[in-house]
């Protein structure tokens, strides 16, 4: 049984213009220990795929036309809201793009971490190192301890005091570390990271990628990393799926897809990235390459 198995996922969204078919039969299987990169340009539907796994697309406007998202054998599109809520945070962690807007500015980071830890701990006390049936006080104390430990783990020094700071007292890179701590505190089996380094400087990006990579290694979890940056995919991912207009054009191990791309779109994307050895005038845009797919 795969960790995550997306089969023929079809999503439509309603807007002013009426209902638009956005995802056209996405198929994707993620096993533990795999880091799947999902690359695509603006509007390719990669973020909506990620949100679908956490079932965070409200309906309306979203509507699933067909398909299933099986997480450890259970179809996420068919579980109850309550079951889904337990899965989130405890079994599926999520990180978003902008660390400045994804932490609640009015609360100490400790409060936010502890609440997530408590949520995961109530679902499964072993996350906090407790036996089943632990008291509320035990849970709270353990959640606080685990929050500090997790902050240390993501590389925040003096975690025991910094846990009482507010988000605005941290730099962008540090905030993203805090968000990673929040996503990982429930010991999830699957991590969905939606453009986790896009808003960061390259030097910080490298550190955050290293952190995600190491956490994944250590805990042997599956990752769905959504990004537009082929460089990031090449660095950290074991597998990659190339998306274009709601379809996966090509998927497979990074070494195969990026070194020997089978689809012309992938090749074009690779040609559009300026690297150390691109000569001036050699870059190619996508002009005229891809036919306008009927939406």
């Amino acid at each position: 049984m795969a960790l995550l198995d997306i089969k023929n996922l079809n999503l439509a969204m309603t807007s002013y213009e009426g209902e638009t078919h956005i995802l056209h039969g996405i198929d994707l299987t993620i096993e533990r220990g795999e880091i799947w990169g999902m690359v695509g340009e603006t509007g390719s539907g990669k973020s909506l795929t990620g949100l679908s796994v956490s079932r965070l697309i409200p309906s309306p406007p979203g509507r699933y036309l067909a398909g299933s998202i099986e997480f450890r054998g259970k179809d996420l599109l068919r579980v109850t809201d309550k079951e889904m809520r337990v899965l989130r945070g405890r079994h599926i962690g999520m990180i978003f793009q902008d660390p400045t807007t994804n932490l609640n500015p009015a609360f100490r980071i400790g409060t936010q971490l502890v609440d997530v830890a408590l949520h995961a701990g109530r679902a499964d006390p072993s996350v906090l190192g407790l036996a089943a049936g632990a008291s509320r006080g035990d849970l709270r104390r353990a959640a606080q301890r685990v929050a500090v430990e997790m902050l240390e783990k993501v590389g925040i020094s003096k975690a025991a005091t910094r846990i009482n700071d507010y988000p605005h007292q941290f730099s962008g890179g540090m905030r993203q570390r805090v968000l990673i701590a929040m996503a990982m505190i429930g010991k999830p089996d699957l991590l969905i990271a939606d453009e986790p380094t896009t808003a960061l400087d390259v030097s910080v990006q490298a550190q955050i990628l290293r952190l995600i990579h190491d956490l994944v290694e250590e805990r042997n979890i599956g990752v769905l990393l959504i990004t537009h940056n082929l460089g990031v995919v090449a660095q950290i991912c074991s597998h990659v799926a190339v998306m274009y207009r709601g379809r996966i054009l090509e998927a497979g191990p990074v070494g195969d897809v990026l070194k020997r791309p089978g689809h012309s779109y992938t090749r074009a994307l690779l040609n559009a990235v300026p690297t150390a050895y691109t000569k001036r005038g050699e870059l190619k845009g996508l002009n005229g390459l891809m036919p306008e797919t009927a939406a």
């Binding site: 994804n102 997530v116 679902a123 429930g186």
Partner: protein
């Protein structure tokens, strides 16, 4: 924190100086003959001249202003030509009634408006939402004085369950003076009957004043809650499995309060100004009634005095709002 408050209080001094100067200039520049009005139609020119001298109105303006300023500090706020009493004494007598009325109204508006706003934001476009939003539009448009009259008609004249006007029946003795707010004083004295009487008199004018701010606060709270619900961090909180109740009442509420708070602060000034209308309708013996009388007789010392008191209350409220703002928004917290 304490230092910050102190500094803010010190900064109020130039504001108040500017305010007195402004009021003084306005009062002196404006046409009108308050002395002539007060002396009556039969007064001789000599009598009027003598009154003017006694009131110090013949002196050069800067001297008059200086005299007024020094007087202000020592508690001499001038004489009311109409009541023939010191303005300061008058204001101290009427102030508690107004404070009681304004804060009762504010309490009603906040304690109903905020939960209602939160509730309608969550059940957006539901039946409750449409009903309250439509009602709120009506509430904002309803003139306070007309609402007052309607309430009197309804509850005092037809249903006869609440008194028509006044603050306390003349034949009864009000509770011992501690704060001057009858409801509070009655509670302090443990006098339940007096509390009920005071409350029954307070109810209608407070409701008449509260409706519009209630509607505005509700709308503001609804709008800011909806805005907060769309923030990225709410998505993160949801994505990590926190319950809707926890997200709404803990994480969203605190953020949504910040913008609503400013509106609440602004309404204190609006309520204080509105007392001239509502106190007139309900014969409520407060600053508004006093100011209205003074304005109609062009008796300017009381008008300046009342305006000054209201401005001070407003400035202190805004300071309190700023401090509270820091509680809700740690980014602007003051060292």
């Amino acid at each position: 924190m304490l230092l910050y408050i102190l500094r803010r209080l010190v900064l109020l001094v130039p504001v108040l100086l500017g305010l007195t100067l402004l009021l003084f200039i306005v009062a002196r520049i404006l046409p009108g003959d308050p002395v002539g009005l007060a002396a009556g139609p039969n007064a001789t020119p000599e009598l009027i001249e003598q009154m003017r001298r006694e009131l110090g109105m013949g002196l050069p303006l800067p001297v008059q202003y200086w005299n007024y300023l020094t007087g202000l500090v020592s508690g001499d706020w001038g004489m009311s030509i109409f009541t023939r009493r010191p303005v300061f004494a008058d204001i101290m007598e009427y102030l508690p009634a107004t404070v009681e009325l304004v804060f009762a109204a504010l309490f009603i508006a906040v304690s109903i408006g905020i939960p209602l706003g939160l509730l309608t934001a969550v059940n957006r476009n539901g039946v409750l939402d449409y009903a309250t939003r439509t009602a709120a539009l009506g509430g904002i448009a309803m003139p306070r004085f007309f609402l007052g009259i309607l309430l009197q008609m309804m509850f005092a004249a037809w249903l006869d369950i609440l008194p028509l006007s006044g603050r306390f029946p003349l034949i009864e003795s009000p509770p011992d003076h501690v704060t001057g707010l009858y409801t509070i004083d009655a509670l302090i004295a443990g006098d339940w009957l007096a509390f009920r009487i005071a409350l029954s008199h307070l109810a209608l004018p407070a409701i008449a004043m509260a409706l519009s701010p209630l509607a505005t606060i509700m709308r503001m709270m609804r709008a800011s809650t909806i805005e907060v619900l769309q923030q990225d961090y709410v998505m993160t909180e949801r994505a990590l499995g926190l319950s809707n109740r926890l997200i709404l009442f803990k994480y969203v509420l605190k953020n949504a309060m910040t913008s609503t708070l400013t509106v609440i602060g602004l309404y204190v000034s609006w309520l204080l100004g509105g007392t001239v209308l509502v106190e007139t309708v309900f014969d409520w013996p407060g600053l508004g009634l006093y100011a209205t009388q003074a304005i109609l007789t062009q008796d300017f010392m009381p008008v300046i005095g009342v305006t000054l008191v209201i401005a001070v209350i407003y400035l202190i409220t805004m300071l309190a709002v700023d401090l509270l703002y820091g509680v809700f928004n740690p980014k602007v917290r003051h060292a």
